[in-house]
């Protein structure tokens, strides 16, 4: 307990916690829309596609400044997202195939570049691999402020456009019929998704970022039938995952953060799947049993009369 208090007394740790909390919140919120738009895997592709961008940015500048690496990650992340959309809209290839294609090409290229970086004589390269698995402890104050600020902006934009994103997600053709600029809104949503993935990479890592996007959302779906509530719950689940994962990783001295954030999110998902009222597995089983008993009773009565 005193360890925990001591840790929280450290200003940097507090910032890291605020950062991962806001990151979890933002990915929970955007992940809900991604899930309902059936774009879960696009987040995964974008996260993987960020790797070559990070390496290229590092190769060009030779420094590990977060903002430079993030620009690199955003560029290749966006490029991957639009390549997927382009393949789907201009060929007979289906979305899952396009995602698989783009994800592996970009990630493969990223690994090649990463190997190149690691073979470089300069000593500055260490720590770049933290980007692959996520290491929140490596975050410094200014990184976290950038991350927290970006996450806050993403959440605000999504809240402002809640109604527009809702109708676009449920019925895109109707949204177009209403006169909404659906092309622009799709583009904007994809950009928000890329942004949240990119700012999450340093804390969660390229491989696991998609899990932080989707797991809180799918867990939240068990608790409610209302979109606004689902988004709030998903945001809270994401925030809890971010905080708990960071605490565990800080306690464990050098344990990677990303995996523990994702493990926490997965635990919340399992609890939701089992115990949620109405949609949870156990609630459904109980309801089914009650119904069967009633049927049997009714049947027995009929048999007697």
């Amino acid at each position: 307990m005193s360890d925990l208090l001591m840790m929280l007394g450290d200003a940097n740790t507090r910032w890291v916690l605020v950062g991962t909390m806001l990151l979890g919140l933002a990915s929970g919120v955007l992940g809900s829309f991604a899930l309902l738009r059936k774009q879960s895997l696009i987040g995964d592709a974008v996260a993987h596609a960020a790797l070559p961008g990070i390496c290229i940015a590092f190769l060009f500048t030779g420094e590990k400044s977060l903002i430079v690496l993030l620009i690199g990650a955003t560029t290749t992340g966006l490029l991957a997202a639009y390549c997927i959309q382009l393949i789907v809209s201009s060929s007979i290839i289906k979305e899952d195939t396009a995602i698989c294609l783009i994800l592996s090409v970009f990630f493969g290229f990223g690994i090649v570049l990463l190997t190149k970086v690691q073979q470089m004589p300069s000593g500055n390269k260490s720590g770049l691999d933290a980007f692959i698995f996520g290491q929140a402890a490596s975050l410094v104050g200014s990184d976290v402020k950038l991350m927290a600020g970006a996450a806050a902006i993403l959440i605000i934009i999504t809240m402002l456009l809640f109604k527009e994103f809702k109708v676009l997600t449920f019925d895109p053709e109707f949204a177009k019929g209403l006169g909404l600029p659906t092309g622009f809104l799709n583009f904007l949503f994809l950009s928000l998704l890329v942004a949240v993935v990119v700012i999450g990479i340093q804390a969660v890592g390229v491989i696991l970022m998609a899990a932080l996007l989707i797991t809180p959302a799918i867990a939240a779906r068990y608790w409610t039938n209302s979109l606004s509530k689902m988004i709030i719950i998903s945001g809270i689940f994401g925030a809890i995952s971010g905080v708990v994962g960071t605490l565990i990783s800080t306690f464990g001295q050098g344990l990677p953060t990303g995996p523990f954030i994702v493990v926490t999110a997965t635990f919340i998902f399992l609890v939701s799947m089992l115990f949620a009222p109405e949609r949870g597995i156990i609630a459904k089983k109980i309801k089914q049993n009650i119904y069967h008993k009633q049927l049997n009773k009714a049947g027995a009565k009929e048999g007697m009369s």
Binding site: K163, E173, K176, L180, L227
Partner: protein, 249 residues
């Protein structure tokens, strides 16, 4: 003024024309059936008019003005199967979406919008289901929710894509009552329709379509055996049934 005036409309997927040189106008305040076989381009026609898919050529005017969705004079009822009904929302919320064009950016629905949404649900006989999760509605009820959403748009011209498909008799009756009410308010309603048996009962005006317009005009004049033959081409067994229907009337 014609509510809908389509000139030289052509729509093509790749190089194949799905709609070829479509020309027609429709009279105001009537129920209009768009009739034709599968693959005739009926849904495509609606979508092209509404600008949901690109036109290869042609011109669409709604009340003598180039159609722009922003003008909010057109309401649209898509096919029920076009959306995922497991979406986390209730019937009232879906109907409220019909108001989104009126509400404007960033704003939330007002009390007035809520009242209109409730009123629209009432008109389709679904007011008790306002809070019902949409996945728990039957097919017919879902169709009525879609109709209520279009009503909430408060438009002058309505386009409906197969509203009668897969609904029970009660819903079919409710829909046709609603169409007649819209008509009595001077609204124009274009309906993609499949069931030849009911054409004469439901529609004042018909557009017979098979890639190009076979004919269009008042139902008594154009819904004839000869025109149906031309529209449905070689599908004879089907047409024999059609013949029976036409002769019965």
């Amino acid at each position: 003024m014609n509510p809908v005036d389509v000139k030289n409309l052509t729509v093509a997927y790749e190089k194949k024309a799905v709609l070829k040189d479509i020309n027609f106008t429709v009279p105001e305040g009537q129920l209009i059936g768009i009739i034709g076989p599968n693959g005739a381009g009926k849904s495509t026609l609606i979508k092209a008019i509404l600008g949901l898919i690109p036109k290869a050529a042609g011109d669409v005017k709604i009340y003598d003005k180039q159609y722009r969705a922003k003008d909010r004079i057109v309401g649209y009822v898509p096919q029920r199967g076009s959306v995922d009904w497991d979406f986390p929302t209730n019937a009232l919320d879906v109907v409220l979406m019909g108001r989104y064009g009126h509400i404007g950016w960033f704003k939330r629905p007002s009390k007035k919008d809520l009242n209109i949404a409730h009123e629209s649900l009432k008109k389709v006989g679904m007011e008790e289901y306002a809070d019902r999760q949409i996945s728990q509605l039957s097919g017919g009820q879902q169709q009525r929710v879609f109709l209520a959403r279009a009503l909430a748009q408060d438009a002058k011209v309505y386009f409906m894509d197969e509203p009668f498909v897969g609904v029970d008799a009660a819903t079919e009756r409710a829909i046709i009552d609603l169409l007649n009410e819209l008509k009595s308010q001077g609204k124009t309603v274009l309906v993609v329709h499949h069931d030849l048996q009911t054409v004469k009962d439901y529609f004042d005006h018909c557009i017979l379509l098979n890639v190009s317009i076979i004919t269009s005009g008042p139902t008594e004049e154009v819904f004839t055996m000869e025109n149906l033959h031309q529209t449905y081409g070689g599908k004879l067994s089907f047409l024999d049934k059609g013949q029976m229907m036409v002769e019965q009337k």
